[in-house]
């Protein structure tokens, strides 16, 4: 299994404060990797650095290319995509236009309609609402649109920041089912999530981030039974 993303000793600063310190992690092809941790641990900062919205130090290699100095747009063209915590949808534009813009970075436009049909098959609700403005969708539908829009770019690695945030439990289950099913498409996933149990149940491998540093890592099936994690994040006693 080849390596999709490798981050080594990555440090990210806000002014002079180190929000992420010497973090190393990797995602293999077809793998779902999760980063769990409390609020303010630096999970979102790590993803922002990975996509290029924040400057970082250390090494960042994506599919064999050093991407640390690349612009956001160049990383997206190389099929590294991020669904941010705020979704960042184009609220005044229709669902269909949002999805179409997801494919903007693709040079070969011949498969766009097919990908759009696949996204509509995966999220039938989006097809029903394709003419509706994105800003008028419910929270769950907005998350589906954000995921669908990212899939339109045919990502090799999809980074998801808190996909369950603010959603009803039923929708959260649906979203995690969708994330698990993306493995079949050959999409690798780096999942940042506060809902540690759901994330570890879906992922192959996990990292625990606390105050900007990786304090623990291992196969997700081992982490989910770790007594310390059960006490700290999984709601156990």
């Amino acid at each position: 299994m080849s390596q999709m993303l490798s981050m080594t000793d990555v440090t990210v600063c806000y002014d002079n404060v180190e929000a992420v310190r010497n973090v190393s992690l990797s995602v293999d092809e077809g793998q779902i990797v999760t980063v769990i941790g409390p609020n303010g641990a630096g999970k979102t900062t790590l993803l922002m650095a990975a996509i290029g919205l924040l400057a970082s130090r250390g090494s960042m290699v994506f599919r064999g290319n050093d991407i640390r100095k690349m612009s956001v747009e160049d990383r997206v063209e190389r099929r590294l995509c991020l669904v941010p915590e705020k979704r960042e949808l184009f609220s005044d534009m229709s669902v269909a236009d949002n999805l179409l813009l997801g494919s903007y970075s693709l040079r070969d436009r011949s498969g766009v309609q097919k990908t759009l049909d696949e996204v509509y098959d995966r999220f039938p609700r989006l097809k029903e609402r394709q003419r509706q403005a994105a800003g008028t969708l419910s929270g769950g539908e907005r998350q589906m649109l954000a995921l669908g829009r990212a899939l339109m770019a045919k990502p090799a690695l999809l980074m998801l920041d808190e996909p369950s945030l603010g959603l009803a439990p039923l929708i959260v289950r649906e979203i995690f089912r969708t994330i698990a099913s993306l493995r079949d498409l050959g999409v690798s996933i780096l999942l940042v999530e506060q809902n540690a149990r759901a994330a570890l149940e879906t992922a192959d491998y996990g990292y625990v981030l606390e105050t900007g540093e990786v304090v623990q890592s291992g196969p997700a099936k081992d982490l989910i039974h770790d007594p310390r994690l059960i006490t700290a994040y999984l709601g156990g006693h």
Binding site: E73, V76, E77, L89, F90, S91, M93, L101, G102, Y104
Partner: protein
Amino acid sequence: MTSDIAAILAIDGIATGAVYALVAIGTVLIFTVTRVIFIPFGDIAAFTALTLAALDAKRFPGTGALVVVLACLATLIEVISLIRSGDIRLLPRALLFYLILPLAVVGIAWLTMRMDPPLAVRLVLALMLITPIAPLLDRIVFRPIADGTVLLLLTVSVALHFALVGLGLLFFGPEGVRTEPLTSFSTEFAGVLISGQTMLIVIAALVFSGLLYLFFDFTLVGKSLRATAVNRTGSRLMGIRPARAGTIAYLLGSLMAGVSGILIAPVNTVFYDSGFLIGLKAFVGAIVGGMTSYPGAAIGAVGVGILESFASFQSSALKDVIVFSLLIPILIWRSLASLHSEEEIEE
């Protein structure tokens, strides 16, 4: 005032407003995509009129020299920037867009002019010469401060206007120009004489607004510009480059301003510094639309044109005072409206 006079003033106002509308739409386009309130759009319109007048007089316009100077400066800045960031592979593309294409435009215009071209070709040449100016200015002036505050961008925009006025004096001289009418046709409607030029202005404004609508709604590039305007971070995450979106917006905006310059040149004497008032009145129109709405900007600009027409009948000396006084109630209304919407968002 009789109804006949009111009708004549209204028609005159709609025609003037249509010209402002083209510039106002360009202003909104640039602002939403780049956050720059591009004051020099009026100068672009005036320079187009002066360029066309020079071409009519079989003189090669100063615009050519301006484009060459700007292209060399923009290329220098882009090359230094690429070398610093280590993106040497992008050098050929930078040379093509910032140097070869603008120089090719000037070269084609220079060669074509020697063949004594007809009016239609001269119009195209004037537009060709004018459209690279704003994108080149964007690269030289605004791109290095793209992350600055709107106030900083506005301050630089005002400074750029004064620089362009100076360059306008250098390249075009102090004399005013009035180009030949594009048509001698005229017709009478409900007892009021309507000139072909007036009809042409309104039709051109409608056609270009319609084309812009089609561009935004039916092309991927148009949608990417709207996306950049709606959500800059979101658009970057789709691979849409804000700098490229900005260049396209400047090109389109310049084209709109250029067309307005061509339309206004036969009805008004245009000087090297006439652009300021055109730009400012279009800006008032754009403010009516909240600087974000194209139909709002167009309606506002037509309103400004009508108000100006009636104001000049009542008191020619005070017409600009009356028009710009309109800004005060609009700004009060706008600030109250935006306060209200911010409260709604917080809820």
